[in-house]
Symmetry: C2
Subunit: 449 residues, 2 copies
């Protein structure tokens, strides 16, 4: 798909050729139609929304930006709203309601029938980022005593409103989840086979609980290459499923959160362009303040060496470069470890192996950078060779210390059940700054005074 070209659609809309517009829209994917909506004025959106068939309009609605969704809901009649809620998958309704003002929520709840209203309320009460809050209830449930033929007949009759029919869920009479079965199994097996004979059960039945964290759900779906995973309540009754498209959203969200934490920000679910200035500032100030105040330590250390620094300007001049290099070396190590922990390639038990590896990597980097630094200072810097040596030696040690701190802190965070992503660049650099200065001045005292 290349960039969509909406000019033709816009012309049809402007010319009032709604019949042609309707058939052109029918040719498009609902994702592209939603993109087209984004380029329209509110009133035009209503017009196009009404041109679409009921099921199509609900599908498009699910892909709209929250602002456009609110606009549509505000403009349509109660009856249209009630039809929309009826057509939408429950998880899409809930996603939408989580983003909109309270008055819109009230109006949508009023428009829903009683059963849907109860369901929506139950969904909204699940803990944020739990399996319950992202699941859908539109799944194919089959009793395990059915035959393959009966099952296919059942899917043909009832499946059309389900979010996926490709994995079916087998339940016993008390609605306990007892197995899963892929539609392909149904297609390839004889019609008289019993579901209970071919379903995945016991150790190979994979499910999650309503209160499990969404990150865990994503891990399970990814690990087992599933298209959807069943969600059960405390009594092991089947209450919903989480589908792969929602899992991909979760992965994206969790990665964004890690990026934010690693850059010393309070993570936020909101889109950058839609977040207010004060909210953005608030998310950033906390860590900036903490890291700034810890700068008191580096300040105190430097104050203690006033005379030394006054005697050798190259020592002062090298401070930013030295601390920058230490910070970068530390970030490199911590980033690899944080990411390794996140994707499961690294575990706590690997710590000793990691430290040994980082020490050796640090030695190689330290020697190369130390040598390059002597050359650099010789070419560009004031001062004696002794000073250059002190700077290079301090750099070598700074790199070793930085790699050590960088690879250790994320693992320690994991051990004490903190998020390793907090132990990234900014935090590591602040600590490395302090250690580096202490070593730097100690070396300078020994070799230069």
């Amino acid at each position: 798909m290349d960039e969509m070209n909406f000019d033709m659609l816009n012309e049809l809309l402007a010319a009032g050729k709604f019949g042609t517009l309707k058939s052109e829209l029918n040719e498009l994917n609902e994702v592209d139609i939603a993109e087209f909506f984004g380029s329209l004025e509110p009133k035009q959106q209503l017009l196009v929304f009404r041109i679409l068939s009921k099921d199509m309009s609900a599908e498009v609605f699910a892909y709209l930006e929250p602002d456009d969704q609110i606009n549509i809901v505000n403009l349509i009649t109660d009856r249209e709203l009630s039809e929309l809620v009826d057509e939408l998958f429950l998880d899409d309704t809930v996603d939408f309601l989580e983003e909109v003002p309270a008055n819109v929520v009230t109006r949508v709840l009023k428009a829903a029938d009683k059963e849907t209203r109860q369901l929506i309320n139950r969904f909204l009460s699940y803990p944020e980022n739990s399996a319950g809050s992202i699941m859908t209830i539109e799944m194919v449930q089959l009793h395990d005593y059915l035959t393959v033929e009966e099952a296919i007949e059942n899917i043909r009759r009832t499946g059309i409103d389900k979010e996926t029919i490709y994995t079916c869920y087998c339940i016993d009479k008390a609605r306990h989840l007892v197995g899963t079965i892929d539609l392909s199994e149904l297609i390839f097996n004889d019609g008289n086979t019993l579901l209970s004979d071919i379903m995945e059960e016991d150790a190979s039945l994979i499910s999650v609980n309503t209160h499990d964290d969404q990150e865990y759900v994503a891990d399970i779906v990814t690990k087992y290459d599933l298209l959807s995973v069943p969600v059960t309540d405390k009594e092991n009754r089947l209450v919903g499923i989480v589908t792969i498209d929602d899992v991909i959203d979760v992965i994206e969200e969790e990665v964004t959160e890690d990026f934010e934490k690693m850059a010393a920000m309070t993570p936020s679910d909101d889109e950058y362009l839609k977040t207010g200035v004060f909210k953005l500032a608030k998310n950033r100030i906390v860590w900036l303040l903490i890291l700034m105040i810890s700068g008191t330590f580096t300040g105190k250390i430097i104050e203690g060496y006033e005379t030394l620094l006054a005697g050798f300007v190259a020592l002062t001049a090298s401070m930013p470069m030295l601390m920058g290099t230490g910070g970068n070396a530390g970030s490199q190590a911590s980033t690899l470890i944080i990411r390794g922990l996140a994707v499961g390639e690294i575990e706590i038990k690997d710590y000793f192996k990691i430290v040994m590896k980082e020490l050796r990597v640090a030695a190689v980097c330290g020697v190369v950078l130390g040598a390059a630094n002597i050359l650099r200072m010789y070419l560009f810097s004031e001062g004696t060779i002794e000073v250059f040596l002190v700077v290079s030696l301090a750099m070598f040690i700074a790199i070793v210390v930085a790699k050590l701190i960088g690879c250790s802190l994320p693992i320690f965070a994991k051990i004490v059940k903190l998020d390793p992503a907090l132990m990234a660049g900014p935090m590591i650099a602040t600590l490395v700054d302090i250690v580096t200065l202490v070593i730097y001045f100690a070396l300078a005292k020994v070799f230069l005074l």
Copy 2:
């Protein structure tokens, strides 16, 4: 699924109870069996591999770690190897071959039949990270003149070896891709309906080209919530599909690459624990060197203010804190922009809006941090109130400049078609260091001399 407990399996293996072991293994998911393999000695692995049924052993093989795969391939007979290659999906074979030494590749190619060998060679020749290199050829292809009933019959007969049957691909007589159709459409439509009447075609037919980058493939699959996407050659002939499980792997890989670039490393596909010390060091040294050498600028600036610094120790003492804060403020902005660009929430055309937003966020952060800094220095630092004011004012300006550089560079990188992830923390901090020092000393000269 809780952590798997392999004790029972190990006991059965040790006791030589292979019959019971086989039936216990049959209860497990192939992903868990692959995990069990990881805990075994090479010879035990061979034993368990041979206990499994042929199709099960191929599925488990696809989930094994490369080292374990190599071990198995080295231990099995040519005949077993040829059966294994026959059972494996082509994309799994290719994935495996990309990870192993040349002698193993040669042996596998010899064991494959002629047709498979040609296919493997073609796959291995696709550019790295292209759609062609990650696609599979085991897809359901249907001629568009078939009826729904004929199509289902065709899938029943031929579909069992396909990686997915849930999306079927319609081709014309010259094998051109002309449409896609979901299995659910086949299930819910009347048997006499023609595929050409219900398939997705024209504007709503979504496909990629063999040479498209895997990141683009992942974007398309994610955007349109697909379970698989068809891959065509230059003549629009259908040559393969990419399935969602491989797309998730691509997403994970690309995110890891971004993390590595953002921490000033050359990205690498290799797992941390399996990468050698020199490879790791090489990936890190390039950027460390570049950033260190650019430290020459900060050094030169500082040398120029020798007398000023000698007169006010608090100026020197505040340097690390000031530059740390600038660097952190810049990283925060660049991280949000890089991530926003990566997930498509931010586009180049938003640049002006972003700059205005960042300036206001910077003003808020700058005022709060500047005020906090005066208090901090008053409590803990030597020096006069004038010095404290100069440091705070410099900090305010540093934060504004840092946010401006931090939000601009990723967008400029995007404009000149560089990866925005390169313009992250370390690079931003290095630039911010230079600008901050210039401003800092200029302010100090004006207010203190």
